[in-house]
């Protein structure tokens, strides 16, 4: 582990019964780095992402965030308390947004900061306004999610995650469920985060976006990292046959 290592995954393995979905994966992400994980569906890339914040705990291996082991083995109560604490530092954005439909945009953003960080109503409102302005949706603060477009929902979901002031952001196919014309507005927000040097790990099917924003690209297939490197190498000069096959299918579209 170098000094710079921020997120470290060591010998990660995961099985669902007899099915091994992750096999001995190692990954180091430095502070401010943006890493894309690409690969065919079923390759384990979402599972790896969801292992980072213990949504899908690993069967074996370690996940570290800034010197703290995320997947510690602890008695149930202590484990829950520990996980609740570290998750506050790990923002996550889902394919299907998962906004809380019974709360307004403001309620979605302020719920966790008020409850977990003890912000006052005024502080939380100010935070919501800031985060919404950042994703360009200040005027939607009192709308319910059902009144928003898919792209707007995802931007609110990003604002909600950012309101916890996370150290790292995980994106699980954040634009896969969007109509094509709505993808760009979400990509723009992510690019803006990249410019602010937010550490990000992005599972995506969008090769153009990965190529333009990311510092490093991981190609996964059948539970292993087949190849990794800067986007220029992965996309223009991949060394592995499997990577070439995958990219041929995806770049020709």
């Amino acid at each position: 582990m170098t000094d710079q290592a921020f997120v470290t995954i060591k010998n990660a393995a995961k099985s669902f019964g007899a099915l091994q979905v992750l096999k001995d994966i190692n990954l180091t992400v430095e502070r401010g780095q943006i890493v894309a994980i690409i690969g065919p569906s079923g390759s384990g890339k979402s599972t790896l992402l969801r292992a980072i914040n213990e949504l899908d705990p690993l069967t074996s291996g370690e996940v570290w965030l800034e010197g703290v082991q995320v997947n510690k083995t602890l008695p149930h109560r202590q484990y829950e308390a520990h996980v609740n604490q570290v998750r506050q530092d790990i923002g996550m954005v889902f394919q299907h947004f998962n906004l809380f439909p019974h709360l307004t945009v403001r309620g979605n953003i302020t719920l966790a900061p008020r409850m977990l960080k003890g912000l006052s109503e005024d502080e939380a409102n100010k935070l919501a306004e800031e985060q919404l302005a950042k994703v360009g949706l200040a005027e939607k603060i009192d709308e319910y999610p059902s009144r928003l477009s898919g792209g707007q929902k995802q931007r609110v979901a990003i604002a909600r995650a950012l309101a916890m002031k996370p150290k790292v952001m995980l994106f699980d196919e954040a634009t896969s469920a969007l109509d094509p014309e709505l993808v760009e507005e979400v990509n723009l927000v992510m690019k803006q985060l990249a410019e602010e040097h937010m550490t990000m790990i992005i599972v995506t099917h969008e090769m153009d976006f990965a190529a333009s924003v990311c510092d490093r690209v991981l190609f996964m297939d059948q539970g292993v990292v087949v190849e990794e490197g800067p986007p220029s190498v992965i996309f223009e000069n991949p060394q592995e046959e499997r990577t070439r096959n995958f990219l041929r299918k995806h770049l020709s579209r």
Partner: protein
């Protein structure tokens, strides 16, 4: 049809209807309490609690409510439980409908999209916080209608207390048949009162459901 007789006896029926309303309200409250506890047992992380919840549901849904009423009221004294008919009946019916409500509440909680829990947990909220602030508010809306079905059933179920001599509607009808030999009129009168009560409750459920949907 003997209208004159109906006009003569209906005040007694109204009084009995009031008892039916009381029974229904108390049974409903007890049922909701049992249902909430039962649902949380069935959804618990702890195996013994889950098991206990499952046994509760299958036991009380798997036997006739009438038998449950009889066991508590007639069988109770044998094991030192001496309750008057009203109390025994309310408890038996409440615990019985609670088993159905357990499944209603559990079903509504499970029908909330898993992504909701994931999003809340990812923000760092605990299981309890997630349940209270994210899952339950959504599940509550979804359980209004099915709980209405349970409540409808429990109102009609209070007629099962006639055999243990709780002076509710059905028992009152039977009593007046004994003295008037006019079963058609007496049961019709009881039936109309049941219908009015159930209709009013139905309107209340609809109103609640609409209100929950709008907000």
């Amino acid at each position: 049809m003997d209208i004159e007789l109906i006009l003569r006896v209906y005040p007694f029926f109204l009084q009995a209807a009031l008892v039916t309303v009381q029974l229904s309200v108390l049974t409903c409250i007890l049922g909701l309490i049992c249902g909430a506890i039962g649902a949380f047992m069935r959804l618990s992380r702890l195996v013994p609690l889950r098991w206990f919840g499952a046994v509760y549901v299958s036991l009380f849904r798997g036997t006739p409510a009438l038998i449950q009423v009889f066991i508590l009221y007639f069988g109770g004294p044998q094991v030192g439980i001496n309750l008057d008919a009203f109390t025994a009946g309310t408890i038996a019916l409440g615990v019985n409908i609670g088993a159905y409500m357990t499944e209603t509440i559990r079903g509504a909680i499970l029908s909330v999209d898993k992504g909701q829990t994931e999003a809340a947990r990812t923000l760092g909220m605990s299981k309890g916080e997630t349940m209270r602030k994210v899952v339950l508010p959504q599940a509550a809306r979804m359980m209004i209608r099915p709980l209405g079905v349970n409540i409808n059933a429990l109102i009609k179920g209070t007629a099962l207390l006639a055999p243990i001599s709780v002076i509710e509607l059905t028992q009152t009808a039977q009593r007046f048949i004994g003295s008037t030999y006019k079963p058609f009129e007496m049961f019709l009168l009881a039936g109309i009162l049941y219908m009015l009560f159930i209709y009013a409750v139905g309107l209340g459920i609809n109103w609640l459901d609409r209100k929950a949907r709008i907000s």
